[in-house]
């Protein structure tokens, strides 16, 4: 192909490109577009409920995790026991309450011994 110069090759390529298809716009395409526009306009008149903006997961998760860790630490150390109601800190089970109900076993035992003697 060396016998042809660049200009000839460019001219030939330009001629070839002119053979490419010139696509015709489908019939009614513009009307369909305008119908879509009308539809979009009608839809835009509907007030949409806006979803609340999403809070980043870490923004919620981090304080919760910190709070949980602090709670576990203070709970284990017993620092907060004075501020807690008895039913939560287990005063009853610890045997420090005057209202502790008696089991009644001692009485039964002594009664049984009395019976034997």
């Amino acid at each position: 192909m060396e016998k042809f110069d660049e200009n000839q090759m460019d001219t030939a390529l330009d001629k070839l490109l002119k053979r490419a298809t010139d696509p015709a716009v489908p019939e009614g395409a513009e009307a369909r577009l305008m119908a879509a526009i009308q539809l979009a306009e009608q839809q835009s008149n509907i007030v949409k409920l806006q979803p609340r903006p999403r809070i980043q997961r870490w923004a919620v998760g981090l304080p919760l995790a910190a709070s949980l860790a602090l709670g576990i630490y203070l709970g284990a150390k017993g620092t907060l026991d004075n501020y807690m109601p008895d039913s939560i800190i287990g005063e009853t089970l610890a045997g420090t309450s005057d209202s502790e109900p008696t089991s009644g076993l001692d009485d039964v035992e002594s009664y049984a011994e009395g019976e034997l003697t």
Binding site: F4, M9, L13, L16, R19, T21, P23, L33, I37, E41
Partner: protein, 190 residues
């Protein structure tokens, strides 16, 4: 509204004037459709993509700051949509392009011409998308290198480079057709 400027039509469109927008559509739909057709290799979804570009314009006409940039804006939006669509559905039957493409009915002696057209379309379809877009904007839509560079958001040097590479690729893939034409030109010159 045949004499209204693009600027006035855009302003009216921003006030939701559908008649004004219809005039813009009649001015720019055809070049946008042709460019999308070329980028999508004659894919039947061409109309959807061209339509989507205009719907985006309708939704916010005020985003076009200068009316003279309207065609370039439409071309850019439509080409991006076309490329996105193709990337999502890349399996385009390039060999079927000639069948989909040419609505003209060719018969008899025109068969050779039709076959040549098909080969040119297929060669263009096989170009990398940026080369194809540059070639489409400049050769088929008659845009200047500066305007085409603006559409593609690249420098003029870059678009010239794309055009050169695109032409070289086409020369290689159309070697047979091209040689015949060169011989024909050469014999006419002689």
């Amino acid at each position: 509204m045949p004499t209204a400027s693009d600027a006035n039509l855009l302003l009216a469109s921003a006030r939701r004037d559908t008649a004004a927008f219809a005039e813009l559509v009649s001015r720019y739909y055809r070049p946008v459709y042709r460019m999308v057709w070329r980028m999508m290799n004659g894919n039947p979804e061409t109309e959807d993509v061209a339509q989507e570009a205009f719907v985006k314009l309708w939704q916010n006409p005020a985003q076009i700051r200068e009316a003279k940039a309207l065609k370039g804006w439409l071309m850019r939006v439509a080409s991006n949509l076309a490329i996105d669509r193709l990337r999502r559905k890349p399996h385009v039957d390039i060999d079927a392009i000639a069948e989909v493409a040419d609505p003209r009915q060719n018969t008899g002696a025109e068969l050779d011409e039709k076959a040549a057209t098909g080969r040119v379309d297929q060669a263009i379809a096989r170009l990398p998308e940026r080369q194809k877009l540059a070639l489409t904007l400049v050769y088929f839509e008659g845009m200047s290198n500066i305007s085409a560079a603006s559409v593609m958001d690249i420098s003029v040097d870059a678009i010239e480079s794309l055009l050169t590479r695109g032409r070289r690729t086409l020369r290689e893939s159309l070697a047979e057709d091209w040689r015949g034409l060169l011989d024909e030109l050469s014999s006419k010159a002689g």
